[in-house]
């Protein structure tokens, strides 16, 4: 039976509204400067905007100028960039960075997700303590992490080779060969940044309301099913954010390489950051190194654009 209140024409109520025009769109600055407390607010934001300009705008513009000139300050157009495309050391460093990200990011995500699910399960008592322990590597500086693992990998002092010798195998001299050095560095990076994945995904899991699991259980879903249908959609945005942040973190690492291999053996473990540092500081070619900075910025900001897009979507949903 239909309820008459719904079909009766009630929409007439606002037909006679006295219409007032919305305020004319004025420039954003005019709007800010019109009111006193807006001016105060602006004054409060300005110092951090200045910081923004100093670390962001100025360096980018300056980098843009640097790559167009050589070390003597002579304008050379895009020569630095074209030189970069045929630079095998640069190509090696770029490939090394990407290769490392491809290994480190998925492994860290899986590890982080697994641990986040474990900590969130009802079987993990004293969650605070577990979380505190698991996030420690996140706060250890790159150089210290590198130093620790250099000792861990040391052929005689290190712990890593102990199980191998116990099994009667030859100890591996991890940091001296290109292949094992890559694996060793990947392990260091996973140790260092998987806690970030853990932390982000755990925060994401905390946003999943518990009662939807109860609802799913009542509806007859198995735990596995509930995981795919409930948990995954809920943490997908956080998962994307974590992926991007991990990518950015893993490509910018420099201290771990500095402390463990210093780029060696040969140039086998040069990554982008190390290349930029080496070119600018050790070989004193900041103009040429800036070209590599541009490549790195591009990589970061493509990731950043995706980051912002996800935040935007998130905000709109609220």
């Amino acid at each position: 039976m239909s309820v008459p209140q719904d079909i009766s024409p009630m929409s007439g109520a606002d037909a006679h509204r006295a219409h007032v025009q919305p305020p004319a769109r004025e420039g954003i600055w005019a709007e800010i400067f019109r009111y006193r407390d807006n001016r105060v607010a602006l004054a409060l934001i300005v110092p951090s905007l200045l910081a923004l300009i100093l670390v962001q705008l100025y360096p980018i513009l300056y980098t843009g100028w640097l790559i167009l000139t050589n070390e003597k300050g002579v304008f050379i157009g895009l020569a630095n960039l074209t030189r970069l495309t045929s630079d095998t050391i640069f190509r090696g460093a770029l490939i090394f960075s990407l290769k490392m990200a491809i290994v480190v990011v998925p492994v860290s995500l899986l590890l982080g997700l697994g641990l986040a699910l474990l900590i969130r399960s009802e079987y993990a008592g004293r969650k605070a303590i577990w979380i505190s322990i698991l996030i420690i590597p996140l706060m250890v500086s790159e150089i210290v992490a590198g130093t620790m693992w250099k000792i861990m990998y040391h052929p005689t002092l290190g712990l890593v080779n102990v199980p191998l010798t116990l099994l009667g195998l030859e100890p591996i001299i991890w940091l001296m060969k290109a292949n094992t050095a890559f694996i060793a560095l990947c392990i260091v990076e996973v140790w260092r940044i998987s806690p970030l994945a853990f932390l982000l995904l755990y925060a994401g899991l905390n946003q999943v309301p518990r009662d939807i699991y109860e609802a799913a259980a009542v509806d007859g879903a198995t735990r596995w099913r509930a995981f795919w249908d409930m948990t995954i959609p809920y943490i997908r945005p956080m998962f994307s954010i974590a992926t991007i942040l991990l990518f950015v973190w893993s490509t910018r690492t420099i201290g771990t390489i500095a402390a463990t291999t210093a780029g060696g053996p040969g140039r086998a473990t040069w990554n982008l950051s190390w290349y930029i540092y080496g070119m600018s500081f050790q070989r004193l070619k900041p103009h040429y190194a800036s070209a590599a900075v541009i490549v790195m910025l591009l990589m970061t900001y493509i990731a950043g654009a995706i980051f912002v897009k996800y935040l935007w979507v998130e905000r709109k949903q609220r």
Binding site: P47, A51, L52, W130, I143, G204, A259, Y277
Partner: protein, 309 residues
Amino acid sequence: MRATGGRDVMTNEQAIDSSTSEQINQEVVLAAQKRRLNLKKALVVVVLYMAAFWTLVPMYWVALTSVKSLRDLAHIPPRLFPTDPRIDAWVTIFERRILENIVNSLVVAGFATIFCLLVAVPAAYAATRMRLPLRFVGIVVALMGLVALLPPIASAIPLYLLGSDLGIIDEKYTLIILYTVLNTAFAVWVLRGTFMDVPVDVEEAALMDGDTRFGAVRRILLPLIFPSLFSIAILLFIFNWNEYIIALYFVNSMSTMTLPIAIQAQIPQHELDWGVVSAAGTIAVVPVLVAAFTLQRFLVRGLTFGVAG
């Protein structure tokens, strides 16, 4: 009468019988469930212990190496526990004036943290509490988010060249300024999330009760967000304490050398120095351990709000 009574007894017995067997059945099921639960719990706990082991073992190993005697250091395979702990390495590291590096790090990280908060707290307040046009706030916040992603190495070259031109390389105050501005974007971003977490109502009530804006912030908002503010300060301090890349470019002498650079300088030229670098590493990790336990609750909450809010 008798027969009836007997039948009654019979039925009662039967009833007792069946009920006990049901009870037993139930107990069996419950026990099985409990066993399964215990098994699961044990599994979870074992995996967590493994994760904790994986996390902590490098730190243990460094601390261990720093107190090993020369004989232990030379032992193959390496000893898992010290047999003859020595503090020689620790003496050496202090002889190499690590204390000065620690002081440098404390000064730079401490001041940079304070300045960063002084810049970022007003900005975060203005962005969340004052009636600026939404478009403007959106742009500023998005910019802050992007800058928080910026790899420090990308700013390092231009800032280094700027610093050389101004002649302020290798000064502690340069490091303080740089650490302040490098973390500002991140700090504003996180503080904004924290501020949004406190209902505006309470401050508005203070305004209605006759307080000024500044008074409402001082008497109402700041006491309410103090725990978060404290956590963010510790987080910023740790960032600064660990900072490596900018220091690499801007530190030339012992007078400015911060701990990460000092540690790198200790990475040994010859085999017997491993104890020394281990001691330095251990020193660097101590504040991190303290911070991790202080920060965990805030980090989980802060990320939930700061990133998704």
